[in-house]
């Protein structure tokens, strides 16, 4: 029975460890390979033993696909490919390919240097892993092998994030990864065509959320910055991703202009260095409107935003600084933090998740006393604000996406099925699809009805047409042919053609039946009577009277002969091939009823 099988990997129900195994028409694909950020032991990795208990992963998996650079989607990749062992292709978009190794290296440094972990992947492993990556473009169909193809769609959310369609023949699965349905200042909205996959896989957390508007999040950010600056304080914003930093800069610049603020805004040098690199990655990834903004201005030609110099951190008075790295775990942002933390007028705004072990993580957990190098204790008096700018879809968004793609089935991961009946009903009702919610480690099996294309020989079709009346569009027509299956190819040809290809001689089976009729006239006249009778009764069939006196009804032959012993009886020889069994039998019984009296 053809089927699609999906297994979300990992133990427990928690979100934050995306890794899904899909089996489709004999191909095995792994979607994402994320790390659970909350655990420090092996629970943070997906349970790869589900994939195959024996045999090499490389032999079992046809490919791995990574949707975007967030660590809960790619954090376990080097572990998987280099420590567990996988040498096949890893597909991702170009920006993801560029940014992943940087985040992985950062993460590795924190885990090993800050937390002293032993069994962790090395820098070399990250490099070796990335060598297996094949970059894909949006809407480009990539042939993984003869049968398996994949295609990336724009997902919004973060730079380089994509939704993937995995297709084998007529069966397909779409995996959304993380996506967003409303455009923001630097990224467009997710989009997919009406590809009608057998299955759409997405996150259940989306469907149970109603998101606060983008504008209100921005408002909150502006308000916090404004209040701090108004009271003479300094605002530190540690950032990593240039896209997010750019967005916040545009926001601040517009606001500064509007309100006429004078406090300086700085952009750290660490960011400017990476600027051109990201700029190139960035442009194809934004929408028209934003592309124009970028083209009009150089990345750093802000009126109110200037390049930062270390010395400025000691200047008195209010200011806003964007600095790397994003989790306050090292470098310039940490330096600035140390200088400003002791003043309650100041503020630090963390725009994203911070990994355990970083200063960022500690202060977001509420810690106000930090132990720094040399056992120095830093008292954190500055205001700490945690803001989430990451764009995710919500209940409304997921319905929109399902409406766009028109899948036959929907599968939600990371949810508890028992607790999500309403949600299931909602999706099933709205779209008339089946909704599945497997637990981690549980396999969902979807039966599919793949369509198998069969080529029919033109000769066969033509012969069918020539044989009789034209086909009726509303009625099925029985056709005889031979199905040849060769090299995953299906062809329907005439029997003669098949026999010829196979080099076999054809045998014919004919049935002959005798019908006795009482008729004193000559055979020829009997034949004419038979002809007229059949012609009037069998209006749907081709009845012919041949010059030699025999009558044909399609391919059935009727000949009249005199009975050897009784001149008053005529014998009708009815002969047909086995293909015409039905008609032959019918004719025979018809003739046995006798002929109408001649007028």
């Amino acid at each position: 029975m053809p089927e699609i099988r999906v297994t979300p990997l990992g133990a427990g129900q928690d979100v934050g460890r995306s890794c899904i195994l899909v089996s489709i028409a004999g191909k095995n694909v792994m979607l994402d390979c994320g790390m659970h950020m909350g655990f420090s032991d092996d629970r943070r990795f997906p349970d790869f033993s589900y994939i195959t208990r024996s045999g090499r992963l490389t032999d079992f998996l046809d490919c791995v696909i990574i949707s975007h650079f967030h660590l809960d989607h790619c954090g376990a990749l080097p572990y998987f490919s280099e420590m567990v062992g996988y040498d096949g292709p890893i597909y991702m978009t170009q920006p993801t390919q560029a940014i992943c190794p940087i985040l992985l290296e950062d993460y590795r440094k924190i885990a090993v240097d800050k937390k002293g972990e032993a069994r962790f992947f090395t820098s070399q492993m990250i490099k070796d892993c990335m060598k297996k990556v094949v970059a894909v473009h949006l809407h480009q169909t990539v042939q993984v092998d003869d049968e398996l193809e994949i295609k990336a769609y724009y997902a919004g959310h973060v730079l380089g994030a994509a939704m993937f369609q995995i297709k084998v023949g007529s069966e397909s699965v779409v995996y959304t990864g993380d996506y967003n349905m409303t455009p923001d200042r630097h990224l467009g909205a997710a989009w997919i065509d009406k590809c009608r996959p057998n299955l759409l896989i997405t996150e259940s957390t989306y469907a149970t959320t109603i998101r606060d508007s983008k504008r209100c999040r921005e408002r909150d950010f502006l308000k916090k910055v404004h209040e701090t600056v108004e009271r003479g304080g300094k605002v530190l914003i540690p950032v990593f991703a240039l896209g997010r930093a750019q967005e916040l800069c545009i926001l601040l610049e517009t606001f500064w202009e509007r309100v006429g603020l004078k406090a300086p805004i700085y952009f750290s040098t660490g960011l400017t260095e990476k600027a051109n690199h990201y700029y190139k990655l960035f442009i194809p990834w934004t929408n028209q409107k934003i592309r124009k903004t970028f083209v009009q201005r150089n990345m750093f030609e802000f009126k109110h935003i200037k390049a930062f110099d270390r010395a400025f951190a000691d200047s008195p008075g209010p200011m806003v600084v964007f600095a790397t790295p994003g989790m306050l775990h090292a470098g310039q942002s940490l330096q600035i933090f140390r200088k400003w933390a002791g003043n309650e007028k100041n503020m630090v705004i963390m725009p994203g998740y911070c990994v355990q072990g970083t200063v960022g993580h500690k202060i977001l957990s509420g810690q106000r006393k930090l132990e720094m190098e040399g056992r120095q204790v830093l008292e954190v008096k500055m205001q700490v604000e945690y803001m989430s700018f990451s764009a995710h879809a919500d209940a409304k968004g997921i319905m929109q996406l399902v409406g766009q793609a028109e899948p036959e089935n929907v599968l939600l991961v990371h949810g508890e099925a028992k607790k999500m009946e309403f949600l299931k009903q909602k999706i099933e009702q709205e779209f008339r699809v089946s909704c599945y919610m497997p637990a981690n480690g549980e396999t969902v099996t979807l039966p599919t009805s793949p369509s198998i294309p069969v080529g029919i020989s033109l000769g066969l079709l033509k012969r069918e047409m020539a044989q009789g009346l034209l086909p009726d569009a509303k009625k099925p027509r029985l056709l005889h042919g031979t199905l040849i299956m060769k090299d995953s190819n299906f062809r329907l040809v005439s029997s003669e053609q098949a026999l010829k290809e196979l080099g076999l001689a054809e045998h014919q089976l004919r049935f002959t039946c005798r019908v006795h009729l009482h008729d004193t006239r000559k055979e020829q006249e009997t034949a004419v009577r038979v002809y007229s009778h059949l012609k009037s009764v069998l209006k749907d069939h081709c009845v012919q009277h041949l010059p030699d006196g025999s009558v044909t009804v399609e391919s059935i032959l009727i000949q009249a002969a005199a009975h050897s012993e009784d001149p008053g009886t005529k014998v009708l020889l009815v002969s047909w091939t086995y293909q015409d069994e039905e008609l032959g039998s019918y004719l025979t019984s018809l003739l046995k009823k006798g002929l109408p009296q001649a007028s």
Binding site: A207, T208, T209, I210, R211, D212, S213, R215, C216, R217, E218, R219, D220, L222, K223, K224, H226, T254, F255, R258, V259, L364, S365, G366, Q383, V384, E385, Y386, M387, S388, D394, A395, K396, M399, K418, K419, M420, E421, F422, L423, Q425, K426, Q429
Partner: protein, 368 residues
């Protein structure tokens, strides 16, 4: 800058907190379950409407360290489907039950909010015996060990029905067929009613029908449709709002003499007087809010009001639904309902006809 951008910049000064959400369907209902969850429900015709139990974003519920909670979103905790439009929804305190009223069909629907799943399921109905198909009964709950449902479309059809046994425990027993616009339970034995004409009264269910009532509003009023809400506390704690923008304050001890009657600066008449709503702030003295005239919610300080015919100015006007109209519809949205947060004194929730839902904490600019 677009007007919405302008307003957003203005809003930095006007609001402490501000959240804007888009529901899948507009609601006329905002009913609290405890102080962390609200219920909303759709009212579209000929469509499956959703009843949702939404949990407020965590940052609105925590008292300290608000800054460490980045979550700004509602969580859909429970949901159910209603084949009818829902115009009123009441939660039965200390139970897992809800009662809704709507059209078509003259009955109240009782729902149960599941404990171990996310389902809100219809469990039973309460017959209302209403002959006129276009009227829907107003509902209020007498909460006690044996909860009772107060309902009625007209004074004559006012009843209290025991939720479990479905037996009628109280009946107004009058033939007066004035249409009701609001019902409110005040304590275990008394309730307040307000008719569309503006006639209102306080009823003690232990006695035969002898409500203390007001006279029909006469001077200054030009008819229209009225609704009312009773607050707590001494003094003029009953507010009555008319569709021509008149706001009347009454003392429950003497309903015949209105303490004050003012004219609110609103666009009149209200395009849909059934949506009129007046509510007292649970956490502020002498403050109330009104909505239902346009896309705004207005907050008033009634402390120094007296006399008849005064013009008053709102303490605050929430214009978010007008400026953040993301749908770009031609018709401006209309606020369908609003409610105060039970614990945070200046936080309100408001919903509009474009399915928007706002949570806002306004700044008292007059405060010293």
């Amino acid at each position: 800058m677009e007007p919405s951008e302008d307003w957003l910049v203005e809003s930095l000064r006007l609001y402490q907190d501000f959240h804007a959400f888009d529901l899948s369907g507009a609601t006329r209902v905002l009913e609290w379950i405890g102080d962390k969850g609200i219920l909303v429900s759709g009212y579209e015709n000929l469509k499956k409407n959703e009843i949702l139990h939404l949990i407020l974003p965590l940052r609105l519920s925590v008292k300290e360290n608000q800054g460490l909670f980045p979550e700004r979103d509602f969580k859909v905790r429970h949901g159910g489907f209603s084949d009818r439009s829902v115009f009123d929804l009441k939660y039965v305190p200390d139970t897992r039950l809800l009662v809704t009223s709507g059209l078509p069909g003259c009955y109240l629907q009782v729902w149960q909010v599941a404990e171990d799943s996310d389902v809100i399921k219809a469990v039973s109905t309460i017959d209302v015996h209403e002959k006129e198909g276009h009227l829907w009964p107003r509902v209020a709950i007498f909460s006690s060990a044996a909860p009772g449902v107060l309902h009625g479309t007209r004074l004559s059809s006012l009843k209290v029905v025991d939720l479990e046994s479905q037996k009628t425990t109280y009946s107004s027993g009058v033939s007066d067929d004035e249409l009701l616009s609001s019902l409110q339970v005040l304590d275990t034995d008394t309730f307040a009613f307000c008719c569309t004409s503006g006639r209102l009264g306080l009823v003690d269910t232990r006695q035969k029908w002898t409500p203390s009532e007001n006279l029909r509003p006469s001077s200054g009023s030009t008819g229209g449709r009225w609704c009312a809400e009773a607050g707590r506390g001494p003094g003029p704690s009953i507010a009555s709002l008319g569709s021509d923008g008149q706001l009347c304050l009454l003392d429950p001890r003497d309903l015949c003499q209105p303490v004050s009657l003012v004219q609110c600066p609103v666009s009149t008449p209200s395009p849909d007087p059934e949506l009129l709503r007046v509510t007292w702030a649970p956490g502020l003295d002498n403050c109330l809010a009104i909505s239902g005239f346009d896309g705004t919610v207005q907050v008033y300080d009634v402390m120094s009001w007296d006399g008849i015919g005064r013009q008053v100015e709102p303490l605050f006007t929430h214009k978010g639904h007008i400026f953040l109209d993301g749908n770009g519809m031609d018709t401006a949205p209309l606020v369908t309902t609003h409610t105060w947060h039970p614990c945070k004194p200046r936080t309100l929730l408001s919903a509009a006809s474009d399915a928007s839902l706002h949570v806002w904490d306004w700044v008292d600019l007059h405060a010293v």
